[in-house]
């Protein structure tokens, strides 16, 4: 048997054996527990097979065994870095089926918190990405410093640092704290842009960083669409699809912002898109705070009567509430029958919920469309032909979070 194989190889010319290397699941740069089975030809990756499921918690099974209200608290765990987006997608699906109209103020607060959440997620990604590339001088400390500030803001709002459970059926948990919007606006306009400049001064034109990222991990737009890649990874491939503009939800159609797009399609482009997205999110946050119906909670308390009374009031009384009237939902909240697919633009891409309700207080079926699941499925094509050292760089540039993949 071996003789036959040897002669076959001799006919084709000299060929070294490929080595199969197991990377993970407990690998520090796999952002959770991802296992990659790599076929190596020397240093070059010839084949890669991702093995997922190590963080599978059965989110869909749990969903169809809990009531709508109980499940609210769980959905933040689907993608723990973007809890607001998770809640937003799920709650939107429930509201679509139940036919609940959300007060304007609550919608603005949702968008505001989601944008803060986007910055948090990108900051964590940036720190870890640099660490994965070998920037061992403590880059994450810079990004974590600012991430901690925003986590503090969101803690004041929701009472939690990461698992917010803030967006509820019909609106939000409660109104913003007094003076909060002023504080956030001051920080986001004066200090945050300086910090982003600081990160860029450390990375963007750094020669080592450029060598590690430029021309590495080319993702063609055709493949990206075919595989369902979304988010900054798709936009770095030249396709301008951002659900906030593409299929506007919440109040994003009333806001003016730009979607960063690059046509370079490599790791560096994905980095630049995310940096630019943080700046755009900061602009969005100031804009939302300026447009927030009723303004800061402190002002709202003083001016509420003035804003809603008179012959031609600025706002209806319902607009200034934080939860839809009469929709302070009890535990046995019932919904349906009906079916809805709602998607939001999470920091990682299109995060969707396909909810099928049968009219009871428990969802009949809930299906998550998580962006990381599709983004990680494209990894084998990206790393083919690259050296082992680039595997981590490319994987990290896709911004995959494993709890989001496994659900």
């Amino acid at each position: 048997m071996s003789i036959v194989r040897d002669t076959e190889q001799a006919e084709k010319g000299f060929k070294t054996d490929e080595m199969v290397i197991n990377m993970g699941p407990q690998h520090p740069s796999t952002h959770g527990v991802l296992r990659l089975v790599l076929n190596l030809d020397g240093e070059i990756v010839r084949k890669c097979e991702p093995v997922i499921g190590y963080l599978h918690r059965g989110m869909e099974w749990l969903g169809q065994n809990r009531t709508y209200v109980q499940y609210q608290a769980l959905v933040d765990r689907v993608d723990y870095l973007a809890g607001m987006s998770d809640s937003h997608a799920y709650i939107m699906a429930v509201e679509k089926i139940a036919g609940i109209t959300v007060p304007l103020r609550a919608e603005y607060i949702r968008a505001l918190c989601s944008e803060l959440n986007r910055i948090i997620s990108h900051l964590l990604w940036l720190g870890i990405f640099m660490l994965d590339l070998g920037a061992m001088f403590g880059f994450p400390f810079y990004t974590f410093r600012d991430r901690e500030t925003i986590l503090g803001f969101l803690e004041e709002v929701s009472g939690q640092r990461m698992m917010f459970n803030y967006i509820r059926i019909g609106g939000v948990f409660k109104d913003l704290p007094k003076g909060w919007t002023r504080k956030v606006k001051k920080w986001i306009t004066t200090e945050f842009p300086k910090y982003v400049d600081e990160y860029e001064s450390l990375a963007t034109r750094n020669p080592i960083f450029l060598v590690r990222t430029q021309g590495v991990g080319y993702l063609s737009p055709e493949l990206a669409i075919d595989r369902g890649v979304t988010g900054p990874s798709l936009r770095a491939s030249g396709i301008n699809i951002d659900l906030r503009k593409y299929k506007p939800y919440s109040v994003y159609d009333k806001l003016d912002f730009e979607v960063p797009v690059s046509t370079v399609s490599d790791t560096n482009a994905r980095y630049k898109c995310r940096i630019q997205e943080m700046r755009e999110s900061a602009k969005l946050i100031t804009q939302i705070i300026d447009k927030l119906p009723g303004g800061d909670t402190e002002d709202l308390e003083k001016n509420k009567a003035q804003l809603t009374s008179g012959t031609n009031p600025v706002y209806k009384a319902e607009d200034l509430m934080t939860i839809a009237k009469g929709k302070n939902v009890p535990m046995g909240f019932k919904c349906g029958p009906g079916e809805a697919y709602t998607a939001v633009e999470s920091p990682r891409g299109q995060l969707g919920v396909h909810l099928i309700a049968d009219g009871t207080s428990v969802p009949y079926r809930i299906k998550w469309r998580s962006p990381s699941f599709n983004n990680v499925s494209v990894l084998p094509d990206l790393i083919k032909g690259h050296p082992v050292a680039d595997v981590v760089a490319i994987f990290s540039s896709l911004d995959v979070i494993l709890p989001d993949v496994d659900r």
């Binding site: 997922i52 469309r369 499925s377």
Partner: protein, 190 residues
């Protein structure tokens, strides 16, 4: 209260009437010779239609290749356990026209085989593996149909409504006694 209920019923009836109208994609498929049952728009405004299993691959190819519909991305495959059988639900979208479409396929419970669409959208590869893993629907022609989220030696398909989860060692005893559990699992196998 009663008047509210009445109005709700009236609304539902109106919605049922709407459902009978075939949507844009349903008309398109009919022109190409594929029959479909229009199910109207769902709560999020997505056109839903049900087609027969044998027409799936053909109609997907038609929808993708036609320049008007240009359904170039598969957003999601959802599986559903209904009394009449298992459903494989495809949520599709077009990056050009920004339209969404949902196609439903129902297969019998004793023989849940659906043709694969992996060769049309490669995103289907992992979605179909997940659907197989969770609901036990077999996608004929799939290049690598094996479990994706659960361990390879996992027994049963967790999202089926008759699934009995294994005893939870952390949260106390199993709701069924040992004999009951054995009986149920045996009857399921036979």
């Amino acid at each position: 209260m009663s008047t509210e209920q009445l109005s709700l019923e009236a609304q539902e009836k109106k919605e049922e009437e709407k459902i009978l109208l075939p949507g844009e994609f349903s008309v398109f498929l009919k022109d190409k010779g594929v029959n479909s049952i229009p199910l109207g728009n769902d709560a999020s405004g997505i056109e839903t239609l049900e087609i027969e299993t044998k027409d799936l691959v053909n109609s997907c190819q038609l929808l993708k290749s036609n320049t008007e519909t240009f359904i170039d991305s598969l957003v999601l495959i959802t599986t559903l356990d209904l009394k009449k059988g298992y459903q494989s639900i495809y949520t599709l979208s077009s990056t050009k026209t920004r339209k969404f479409l949902r196609i439903k396929i129902t297969v019998p419970k004793d023989n849940p085989i659906v043709p694969t669409v992996t060769h049309i959208w490669s995103a289907a590869n992992w979605y179909e593996r997940e659907a197989y893993d969770m609901m036990g629907i077999i996608y004929a022609g799939h290049p690598n149909l094996k479990r994706i989220l659960n361990p390879e030696n996992w027994e049963g398909y967790p999202l089926r409504k008759d699934y009995i989860p294994p005893a939870d060692s952390l949260n106390g005893p199993h709701p069924l006694t040992e004999t009951e559990f054995a009986e149920k699992t045996l009857s399921k196998e036979s």
